[in-house]
């Protein structure tokens, strides 16, 4: 211990240059011969260096603390906070703008696509809401040959029930029948069948697409003409007036009762009535009659979106149409020979039955 201290003292004296020349040479000689002492010297040098570094740093730290102490901290703090807030506000603003832009884009796309969809839908809507009430019969694919055969056997009504079915009624005693255009549209051949089961071949002689009406003429020698028990009522009927119809929504004749619920038809069509009456596919072309048994309209279709709303073309329009027909096709006007006025409904129907036909369409 004591020796260590003496050695340390000697080393320090040596490093600090306190030794005189002879001492120094002696010590250097000792360092050379004794590696242990040499190591001690080097270690001490290193240590002193570290100690010096330490001192410098402590000194520096003290200076820094002093400088820091002199700083105007409250002002700096305030400044920094303000700057940070501005920066934050800026980033927030930037973020908000980005978000807004994204939202706007989405809104734009959404509204545009909505507009597109709505336009598309509204275009489809009218057709979707309106439904023809022709009957789609058993859709049997018939070969061309079979069709040709049928046409050859003119007088024979085909056993096949046809592709489509509707209703028609006589507008003259000599075989003119009115039905809906959509019933006979695109038909290869048309047959009409009365309630007794007698079928007659018919041809469409006049069609009016805008009011959805078609005039058929029975082209069959077996048909016997008979006078009509009703007439076409030329005036418009009143709102709420009770009406009835008979038609062929099925193979049997079907009676339906209702009332005029509006003076215009689908989408404000002035040539038609809105009728609250049960109609089904197959009722197309059925007559709409008032209590006196006069024809006031022709059932054409119904609204799909609500139940019990049907549409019928006004009889006045039909009359107008019949007047407009080409001269060579003029039918004999035999209206109002025998009115069914005053008869009860059962008798009216009984009489009417003979003049209402099931229209069978083949195509």
């Amino acid at each position: 211990m004591k020796e260590d201290m003496i050695l340390l003292r000697e080393i320090e004296r040596y490093l600090e240059g306190e030794m005189n020349e002879s001492e120094k040479t002696a010590f250097e000689a000792l360092r050379h011969t004794n590696p242990l002492i040499n190591k001690q010297v080097e270690e001490h040098q290193l240590f002193l260096q570290h100690l010096g570094n330490y001192g410098q740093r402590v000194n520096l730290q003290a200076k820094l603390d002093q400088i820091h102490h002199q700083l105007d901290m409250p002002t700096l703090r305030k400044q920094a906070q303000e700057e940070n807030q501005t920066a934050k506000r800026l980033t927030i603003r930037r973020r908000t703008i980005t978000n807004l832009a994204a939202a706007a884009c989405i809104a734009l796309v959404t509204s545009l696509s909505t507009i597109a969809v709505i336009q598309n839908v509204s275009r489809n809507k009218s057709t979707a809401q309106y439904e023809d009430v022709r009957r789609v019969l058993n859709n049997i694919q018939r070969s061309q040959n079979a069709l040709v055969n049928d046409m050859n056997k003119k007088s024979r009504a085909p056993l096949n029930p046809g592709t489509y079915g509707g209703t028609g009624f006589a507008v003259s005693g000599n075989g003119y029948i009115v039905t809906n255009y959509h019933v006979v549209a695109g038909a290869d051949s048309v047959y009409v069948q009365n309630n007794k089961g007698e079928a007659f071949k018919a041809v469409s002689i006049f069609e009016d697409i805008s009011s959805d009406l078609a005039i058929l003429k029975i082209a069959d020698s077996t048909f016997k003409s008979q006078p009509l028990p009703y007439s076409l009522k030329p005036q418009a009927v009143k709102l709420g007036e009770e009406v009835f119809t008979i038609g062929y929504p099925r193979d049997e004749i079907v009676y339906g009762k209702g009332y005029i619920s509006a003076k215009t038809g689908f989408n404000g069509d002035t040539t038609a009535y809105q009728v609250s009456i049960p109609v089904n596919p197959g009722n197309s072309g059925a007559p709409l009659l008032d209590n006196k048994g006069d024809v006031v309209g022709i059932v054409t279709g119904k609204q799909t979106t609500s139940d019990g709303i049907a549409f019928a073309v006004k009889s006045a329009h039909l009359k107008h149409l019949l007047d407009e027909m080409p001269k060579d096709k003029q039918l004999r006007k035999e209206w109002g020979h025998k009115s069914m006025e005053g008869m009860n409904r059962i008798d009216q129907i009984k009489k009417l039955e003979d003049f209402v036909y099931m229209v069978k369409v083949y195509n």
Partner: protein, 191 residues
């Protein structure tokens, strides 16, 4: 042009710092601290954090200029800022090791090479500091007075009431031996 001027000025300041001029240190400190304070506050640090981080950066700078081989390639402001950023990042990682760093901090981990050297020196400093504080009084003061403040043994003897400088010297050697032992216990030298 302006940047060149700035760098020239920065270099002069560093020269002053290397010579130990207090004025340069003061200018560097007061000019750069606000920026660092702002950065630390922005990243959820406190004022004390800012002070610690900034002073450490100054120490790094000081060590660099002491080495004489340091040439400033960027502006002083940039250098200090990036060092501070790095130091703060390290600190956050140490303190909140479990928490994820904010993405902004993660982006930049600058000045990695600059700090390797510093870390070694810092390690040495911590060891010396630890050794110094554990030798106790009056040893610590005697050694500091002699080696750091370069006081003569006569002054020290008077200050501590030793009868003569020789007694004080003996005391100093005892203290020095203890300090050396404590220091080298932790400081593994290649010697």
């Amino acid at each position: 042009m302006k940047q060149n001027q700035d760098i020239t000025r920065d270099r002069e300041l560093l020269l002053g710092l290397a010579k130990g001029e207090d004025k340069s240190l003061e200018i560097i400190y007061s000019e750069n601290f606000p920026v660092v304070l702002r950065m630390i506050l922005q990243h959820n640090g406190s004022e004390d954090d800012a002070k610690d981080v900034f002073q450490e950066a100054i120490i790094v700078l000081y060590e660099k200029v002491q080495n004489n081989d340091f040439t400033l390639s960027s502006r002083l402001k940039t250098f200090l800022y990036s060092v501070c950023r790095h130091l703060w990042l390290k600190k956050v990682q140490r303190t909140y090791g479990l928490y994820a760093l904010t993405p902004e901090l993660e982006e930049v981990i600058p000045a990695t090479e600059e700090l390797e050297e510093h870390n070694v020196k810092d390690q040495e400093f911590r060891i010396m500091e630890g050794a110094m504080s554990s030798i106790g009084q009056p040893c610590q003061t005697i050694l500091e007075d002699y080696y750091l403040h370069k006081k003569s043994m006569q002054e020290i003897a008077e200050k501590f009431g030793y009868t003569n400088a020789e007694n004080a010297k003996n005391q100093k050697y005892k203290c020095l031996m203890r300090l050396k032992k404590l220091f080298f216990d932790q400081y593994k030298t290649p010697l």
